[in-house]
Amino acid sequence: MKLDKNIIFKNWLILIAIVLLSVAPFMMNNYWIDVFFFFGIYALLGLSLNIVLGEVGLFDLGHVAFMAIGAYTTAILNTKFGIPIIILLPVSALAAAGFAWLVCSPIIHLRGDYLCIVTIGMGEIVRLTLINNPFGITGGPNGVFGIDFPSLGNIFMIDNSTEFYFLIWIVVGLTILALINLQRSRIGRAWNCIREDEIAAESTGIDVRYYKLLAFILGAGLAGVAGNIYASKLMIVSPESFTFMESCMLFCIVLIGGMGSIPGVLIGAAAISLFPEVFRTFAQYRMLIFGAAMVIMMVFRPGGIWPRKRGAVEFKSLLLKAGRDNV
């Protein structure tokens, strides 16, 4: 059967990807391991934005602000109070999620492009505020530096490229498992319904406002986690990492891969993070090529490289099992 073949193919693909990702760092130099680390960061950010943009269809072009909140929470609490990075991981997630709740509550009713510009505005407000060094805690344009590596007392410390590589990819892996479960739950369905038709969703009994906010909060929380890992890897955070351009890149990750598709997000993240590296020899022309590639990509595959497939694979019938498929 065609259906079973698809599942086998998919499982093989997943297995190969996992094997490749786990042996990869032992076959690359540190430079490429770091490139793959940032691929992982982009994947995590892409997954977080995918909740908001891909699943619910909300135009969020300021998503990097949530990462900034997570990264600065980690940086400031670690350098000022010496709180370990590991403890700050959930704290950063909560800070970013709390920020999302606070900021998005009053604007969640805005539609389409109006929501889009407000998220852009929010992103810019966060970045400009960080530059302006309020209360002397964000370090202005230079940012905060001297952030620790993640460690468990004296037992264990993540301090080299390979270890960071595994940290980020394990987090990405766990996130993917969690998101797949969410996609196939009533929450994932509610999100998709809102994306398809807001009024029909509301009239079907879905609390549109609640589920939109939930998407923002979960997405922001995940971006906060990415911010935490990013800050401890670079040991420095500065406002220039959180520009509008970065938000646009995240937006492209989701759309290049295919809205609401988890493999799509991974492909999109790979395209965004690996492409400029592969074209490094072209130096100043590489972003030129990159821009052109985005256009060409959308002309030929507007639905993304790996759009989410719906149907049989996800839903094996319960009644079918009971042998009642003769109606």
Binding site: I107, L110, C252, V295
Partner: protein, 303 residues
């Protein structure tokens, strides 16, 4: 009071830049429902085009038509050049994607934006470029204790003429009615015999042309231009568009002027460092209370 009035004039000046750029966003959005992210970079390209014309052609132009003539020539050529660039962008990057819906077009627009920005960087170099000094003589007038430069007067007059002209075209001519009809409902407009392709051609030529003119004005006003300026001005102008109510032509003008004034008053009375924060806060507040912008109409969704 003196400071207030001077800031108002400064605000109107930069507000008129925003308004000219915002019109491009608004017209394209109105008809195509597309946020043309490349528009800011087309504006920047206009600024660089004007720069090159004034630098390379200044000797020839000044000896034949004078500096003022050079300025007008630079604006005209930038407007025509950028108008053509706008049409090319539409043909290559947007037209093939329309049937696929709105989001792919947004990515494509971002792609064009990155492409143009880097094309400018490759062509003119990554460093700041300075506009020639004496395009307009640095004359300052004092009216009742308020300082205003000749350049400001020229910019204000010129942009108000352009805004009035566009307002006239959109609101009073048959072709303007065709554009407004297409903005309301493209399919019905097409059924009523409006040639949508002509409308699209026109808005993708006129919007960027106005943006290119604004680019030359910004170059003359601030004298310093950089390849990233498209993002900054584009973002502000887009904010202005939303502030006024997207797709609404008078709204874009009002939004642009108001945004310029807010920005200048904010930097004068609150803090220079936080002026942009102030601008975005105002935008968010306006949208919370008027979700479709200042001049946007309240549209009940048809159920």
């Amino acid at each position: 009071m003196r400071i207030f009035l001077e800031q108002m004039i400064n605000g109107l000046t930069i507000g008129s830049f925003y308004a000219l750029i915002a019109l491009g966003y608004s017209m394209v959005y109105g008809v195509m429902k597309l946020i043309n992210f490349a528009h800011g970079d087309l504006f920047a390209l206009g600024s660089y085009l004007g720069f090159s014309l004034l630098v390379w052609g200044s000797a020839y132009v000044t000896s034949h038509v004078g500096l003022a003539g050079g300025m007008i020539a630079a604006m005209l050529i930038a407007a025509i050049g950028i108008g053509m660039a706008g049409i090319i962008v539409e043909r290559i990057a947007y037209r093939p994607i329309y049937p696929a819906g709105r989001l792919p077009a947004v990515v494509s627009a971002l792609g064009v934006s990155i492409f143009l920005q880097n094309a400018i960087m490759v062509a003119w170099g990554p460093r700041y470029q300075a506009y020639p000094v004496n395009v307009v003589p640095t004359v300052r007038f004092e009216i009742g204790g308020i300082h205003i430069t000749l350049l400001q007067i020229i910019i204000l007059i010129l942009s108000f003429i352009l805004l009035a002209l566009l307002y006239y075209i959109i609101q009073k001519t048959t072709f303007g009615a065709a554009i407004r009809a297409s903005a309301l409902d493209r399919d019905t407009a097409a059924l009523m015999g409006i040639n949508i392709n002509t409308v699209i051609f026109f808005i993708f030529a006129l919007g960027p042309a106005l943006g290119g003119t604004a680019g030359v004005m910004v170059g003359m006003y601030y004298r310093q231009i950089s390849f990233t300026m498209g993002w900054n001005y584009g973002l502000k102008a887009f904010t202005a568009t939303i502030l006024g109510g997207i797709g609404n032509i008078p709204g874009a003008m009002v939004g642009g002027l108001l945004l310029g004034i807010f920005e200048m008053l904010g930097s004068a009375y609150i803090s220079t460092a936080y002026k942009d924060v102030f601008v975005f806060l105002i935008l968010i507040l306006v949208l919370i209370f008027r979700p479709r912008g200042l001049l946007g109409e309240k549209v009940a969704e048809k159920v």
